[in-house]
Every structure is written in C-alpha cells, then in structure tokens.
Amino acid sequence: MQVSTAEAAWVAGLRRGEPAAFDAVFASYRRRLYGYLVRMTRHRDLAEDLLQETFLRLAQSAKQLAPETRIGAWLFTVAHRLVQSWARAQAVRAQFAGDLIAPVDPAPRSPLEAATDSEGQRALERALAALAPAHREVVLLVGVEGLAPSEVAAILGLRPEAVRQRLARARAQLAELLAEVRP
C-alpha cells in the first residue's frame, strides 16, 4: 500500500525531530486512536492513558522510523499492543482476585452511551460493546477506521485470511445483536 505525500512528509519531519510534524500527526490521529481505545477498554481515563502512551512511543521512536512508515498503521499497532497488555493484566488480576471481585452489571450504561444522541446510536454502542474484544477490534479497524483487511492483519499480527474470517463472523454477530437491541 502506498504512503500518502502528507504521511511521508510527517515521517520525514519526525525523523528530523520536528515538533511540528508531531503536532500534525497528533491532530490527525488523536480522535481516531481515542475512539478505538475507548471502545476497546470501555473506560475513558484508561483510554486517555493509553493514548498518551501511544504518542509518547511515537515521539521516542521518531528518529528510528523507516522513511516508508505508514504512520496510521504504526500508531494502531502500538495502540493494539497496549490494549493487549492491559487485557492480559486484567485477566491475571481477575484470576488472582477470584471471588473477591464483586460481580458487576454486565452492561452498565457507559460514558459512550451517555454521550450519544439517539436511541439508534445507543443501540449501536451497546451491540458493539457486546461483541467479543477480538471481533470488536476488527469492526473498529475495518468498519470505523476504514483500514484494509491486509493492513489490519499486519496490525494484529494475523494472516489476511484470518482477518477476513474474523471480519465475516464479527459482521454477522453485530447484525444479529443490532436486530436484538434496536428499538
């Protein structure tokens, strides 16, 4: 896949350590990455922390970026790995805490739902939240971010065929859930 002229200029600027290039990347990707992170973690404060870590890593890796780096894919790869680490830590914590963890409402009204305007949008947020994280992730990356399945495969470290299968299952499951939750 071709690197756009703007992206190539940003990467060149980052490699020279120019803060202006960082600002341009931040302005272009902040919203997209935050949307992905908040919908994967379901937690605004945590999503902010992971967003900061993602951009810190970009800043610290700026001079080592290859000239042909696709900056969007690079950022989503870092964000995906941060989400994975967080999910692993969550799983370990849950395993060790066992019964000490109080049962929680499986579908609490999230800040995302509270911020949405219409019942249809709330239903969509609920259906998305009900998907398995691996399925939600491909929906967000392909459906919302518009990334190509081959690009998503590279981000997730999967074969393109595996992403296509996951995508088909996720789409079918989302359609089913939407049919259930839509008013």
């Binding site: 931040f26 902010e48 610290q60 700026a62 088909a168």
Partner: protein, 71 residues
C-alpha cells in the same frame, strides 16, 4: 473493497465520533511533544537487563549442576 467490508461499514456508519476532552488532549500533546526525537529513558532498560542477567546466571548454574551430577 469487498462486500463484507462495505456491509460492515454500512452497519456502523451511525456510530458517533468520540474525542478526548480538549484539556486532556493539550496535556497529552504537550507531554509527548517534549520527547520528540528523544530516546526512551534509560531507566526503562534497567529491568529487562536485570531479568536477562538473572535468567542467564540461572541457566549457567543449572547447566553446571547438571554436568556435576553426571560426573
């Protein structure tokens, strides 16, 4: 673009955009901008190096003991 992708994009097209609040965004940008072109802090490398050393020493010790036991 495949049909699967188009159908999925159609399903989620009404998903509202979410954004980090402006003050947090400014704080994150300011914090990260300071590090542009800087290498990660050395302190971040200390723990992996210590763990690596510990693992290497344990392996050498285990091999030494194994050879000792075998005579």
């Amino acid at each position: 673009m495949s049909d699967e992708t188009t159908e999925l994009q159609d399903l989620v097209k009404d998903l509202p955009a979410v954004d980090v609040d402006p003050s947090s965004a400014a704080r994150i940008a300011e914090r990260a901008r300071r590090d542009v072109g800087q290498r990660p802090p050395r302190a971040r490398l200390v723990l992996p190096i210590l763990v690596g050393l510990l693992v290497a020493i344990t392996i050498v010790w285990a091999l030494y003991k194994a050879f000792e036991a075998l005579g």
